[in-house]
């Protein structure tokens, strides 16, 4: 099969909706990332109460991205959104070293969730535009990402503010969803 026909096939398949969960601690930049994906204005973002949803078209997929608030009070509600998730995006504020441990714990708990077992995970090491941002490699080490064996994962440094690295992350998203569907 040639490349063109593969592309055509992808395009014509109606079942190309992908459900993506966007999670992480508050102040990590989830909503900014979501708005950036949708090319919307990011200057008036407020702390998320509840959630935001956006559909984004990318590479023949319709990505339904669920951005759930990261405040401690609403984290217990994350689980209400786990079902039928195709991919998890976890956002970390790379400059907030004080909460690396907390964010690591939340991520570990997510990866232990039965409803999310085997779901690919993309970790955005966000806020790389800040001078004190930790490099992605340091975060990967701190979170012991190399011990993840039960799913595919990727860590991507990015700045949701300037959109740097965001596209690279989304390319990985499409790639791994594709691989999973085959």
């Amino acid at each position: 099969m040639g490349l063109l026909s593969i592309l055509r096939k992808l395009k014509s398949t109606p079942d190309q909706e992908v459900r993506i969960l966007l999670l992480g601690l508050d102040n990590g930049g989830k909503t900014t990332l979501l708005k950036q994906l949708a090319s919307e204005d990011i200057s008036h973002i407020t702390p998320t109460q509840g959630f935001n949803i956006k559909s984004v078209q990318s590479q023949g997929f319709k990505l339904n991205v669920w951005d759930i608030g990261g405040q401690r009070k609403i984290r217990p509600y994350w689980r209400n959104y786990f079902e039928n998730t195709d991919l998890l995006i976890y956002v970390i504020d790379s400059a907030d070293r004080k909460r690396f441990e907390e964010t690591g714990q939340e991520l570990a708990e997510l990866l232990d969730e039965e409803k999310l077992s085997g779901v690919p995970v993309l970790i955005f090491a966000n806020k790389q535009d800040l001078l004190t941002a930790a490099p992605a490699s340091e975060i990967a080490e701190g979170l012991n990402l190399h011990t993840i064996r039960d799913r595919v994962w990727q860590i991507q440094p990015c700045s949701a503010l300037t959109s740097e690295g965001v596209q690279d992350g989304m390319n990985w998203v499409c790639k791994s969803v594709n691989a999973k569907r085959k």
Partner: protein, 344 residues
């Protein structure tokens, strides 16, 4: 036959075929060679003179690009501004990569010129393309695949009631800011801050003045302090704060585990509180000579202040106001901070 078996048993675990050993040695040599090559290259590149030459050349190119834009040639101007934006991003990256061998002064200088460039781009953009939409497009145009968008549904509120507490890890000392101080007057001038990330932690009975425009501000474990800060371009994050007076301007404010604290606030989007009691708000009213410049640098709209619209994550009932925060009555507001101003 016998010879082989005896040899195997005598050396047992350590015997490795010679061909493998040779290959390993070759591999190590190759590694060493590459490392040497890399080192000699990086040494020449890491020279400060190399950095400043490359930086200023690139800076001049961007300046030229920006000044070449005129409102009459709309299309050309759009594309050159796009190119300039991308170039600034690359330059910032270059600066970040070079940070290890630059002195503080040079880093600051470079950061400053980058900010200037960003400012002049914004100015030019406003001049050439008055519509906001275009400005935004140019941000993402650099990406190879443009995402198409269908904004779908909106926001909804869950009924929250439970919570869990998690322990935070130790604080790194690498940031700009103050920690572990008692009964002191602490001042940062705008040269120290320079759009950096400021962290204030473990302070008791201190007076803190942050002149200039931080990129973000984190305040953690402070007690009985008076903290005044110039405009913060993104978010302020407060945790474990008690009996304090804070005077802040920012894009958004997140307040956690805070009690008996007054906040004089300028916030362009929204302030939230979580697990807080006795927090009271009033509008930002600190004045200092370069405040306006700092507002401009931060990108905050000085006209837009939502200080009185506070969301309480422990009080999601609509209609009834949260008991956890109040507005400071006008008669009780502190209006002059200079009286308490330490000498500079």
């Amino acid at each position: 036959m016998d010879g082989i078996s005896s040899e195997v048993s005598s050396n047992d675990a350590v015997k490795i075929p010679e061909s493998i050993l040779l290959r390993d040695q070759a591999r190590l040599e190759e590694l060493e060679r590459r490392r040497n090559a890399k080192e000699s290259q990086t040494v020449s590149e890491e020279k400060i003179s190399y950095f400043s030459a490359a930086f200023s050349a690139e800076k001049a190119a961007i300046e030229k690009l920006i000044s070449s834009c005129t409102p009459n040639e709309h299309l050309a101007a759009t594309t050159s501004l796009e190119v300039a934006t991308n170039k600034i991003q690359d330059l910032q990256k270059f600066l970040n990569d070079s940070k290890v061998f630059l002195t503080k002064y040079e880093l600051r200088q470079a950061q400053e010129s980058l900010q200037k460039l960003q400012g002049s781009i914004a100015e030019k953009r406003a001049e050439v393309m008055p519509k906001k939409k275009f400005a935004f497009r140019s941000r993402t145009a650099g990406a190879s695949q443009q995402l198409e968008v269908t904004p779908a549904s909106t926001e909804e509120k869950p009924k929250a009631n439970t919570g869990n507490s998690v322990v935070d890890s130790a604080v790194s000392a690498k940031q700009c800011g103050f920690s572990h101080a008692h009964n002191e007057v602490l001042i940062k001038n705008s040269e120290d801050i320079q759009h950096g990330d400021v962290l204030l932690s473990h302070l008791t009975n201190c007076k803190v003045r942050l002149y200039g425009s931080p990129n973000t501000l984190h305040i953690k474990n402070v007690k009985g302090c008076q903290i005044l800060s110039g405009p913060v371009s993104s978010s302020v994050f407060i945790d474990e704060c008690e009996d304090c007076t804070l005077v802040l301007a920012c894009q958004q404010l997140r307040t956690h585990n805070t009690t008996s604290t007054q906040i004089y606030l300028h916030v362009t989007s929204r302030a939230i509180i979580e697990d807080c009691h006795g927090v009271s708000f009033a509008p930002f009213n600190w004045m200092y000579p370069k405040l306006e410049d700092d507002f401009q640098m931060s990108g905050l709209d000085s006209e837009r202040n939502n200080w009185s619209q506070v969301d309480d994550f422990n009080w999601l009932a609509t209609g009834t106001p949260s008991p956890n925060w109040t507005v400071i009555p006008e008669s009780e507001r502190i209006s002059c901070w200079d009286a308490a101003e330490p000498k500079l």
